[in-house]
């Protein structure tokens, strides 16, 4: 069902039940993992943080969990990849459509995309996941990468 997400999701860049205290902490952790695993340049984390503060990516969803899909300019990316975190305690991201409003987020999917309009099918799969409360719940309950794979399958 979400084959392309699974193809791009780096297992070493998945943090389940993270204790991160705020969006900066979770973004920095996931961004550093994408850097260590060779997906992005060192400048990526700072760029993603800056982008998030100017053009936030918090999304209020239908179910009990909300998500954020941070990303930044392609120049900081070496090859396309995804990092994912589930959070024990929600952290506040600003709402994409209404930046002055905070959204308590427990699922973060950090996207490294190497050119505009790239990975269209994967992006459509992400939108499909965001619209599927059942998949989100499975992701939130996942204890290891196998559970994540199952949730996306």
């Amino acid at each position: 069902m979400s084959e392309r997400i699974l193809n791009l999701l780096e297992p070493r860049a998945v943090r389940l039940h993270s204790q991160a205290q705020d969006k900066t902490e979770v973004l920095t952790e996931l961004g550093n993992l994408l850097f260590q695993t060779g997906y992005v340049r060192e400048s990526f984390v700072e760029a993603a943080l800056q982008r998030e503060s100017q053009m936030p990516t918090g999304l209020p969803l239908e179910g009990k969990y909300n998500a954020a899909i941070p990303h930044t300019e392609c120049e900081h990316v070496l090859k396309p990849g995804l990092a994912l975190a589930t959070l024990t305690k929600p952290v506040i991201f600003q709402n994409m459509i209404q930046p002055e409003e905070g959204v308590p987020v427990q699922l973060v999917i950090l996207m490294a995309l190497d050119q505009p309009k790239s990975q269209v099918e994967m992006l459509q799969e992400i939108a499909g996941v965001l619209q599927n409360a059942l998949v989100i719940e499975k992701l939130m309950e996942a204890r290891d990468f196998q559970d994540i794979q199952k949730a996306f399958t």
Binding site: M55, E62, I69, M96, I97, P99, K117
Partner: protein, 95 residues
């Protein structure tokens, strides 16, 4: 045949979000027999690119009162209120 309507789709960086939204709009309108042409842009580019477009759909704040209808929505990402937004788009294109 009438010319297809033109929709400018804006988001923060024109990398990810507007891609999803543009594809979803094309698909939803095609299912209703309406052909549209979309172009993606950054919110900051809306004013310079909007000439010749019938509608702007955006996921992030853009300038208001620019002479072209603007629909601001997350529905194509989150699914919430999607049918209503598609109706709004159809109406805006017919106006």
């Amino acid at each position: 045949m009438a010319q297809p309507k033109r929709i400018l789709v804006a988001c923060g960086t024109a990398i990810a979000t507007s891609t999803v939204v543009a594809m979803a709009i094309e698909e939803a309108l095609k299912a209703r027999g309406i052909d549209v042409v979309t172009r993606q842009c950054k919110a900051a580019e809306v004013k310079s690119l909007m000439s010749g477009y019938d509608l702007i759909v955006t996921t992030t704040p853009v300038p208001k009162d620019i002479g072209i209808p603007v629909i601001q929505t997350l529905a194509f990402l989150t699914g919430i209120g999607k049918e209503a937004v598609i109706e709004d788009i159809v109406k805006a294109l017919q106006a």
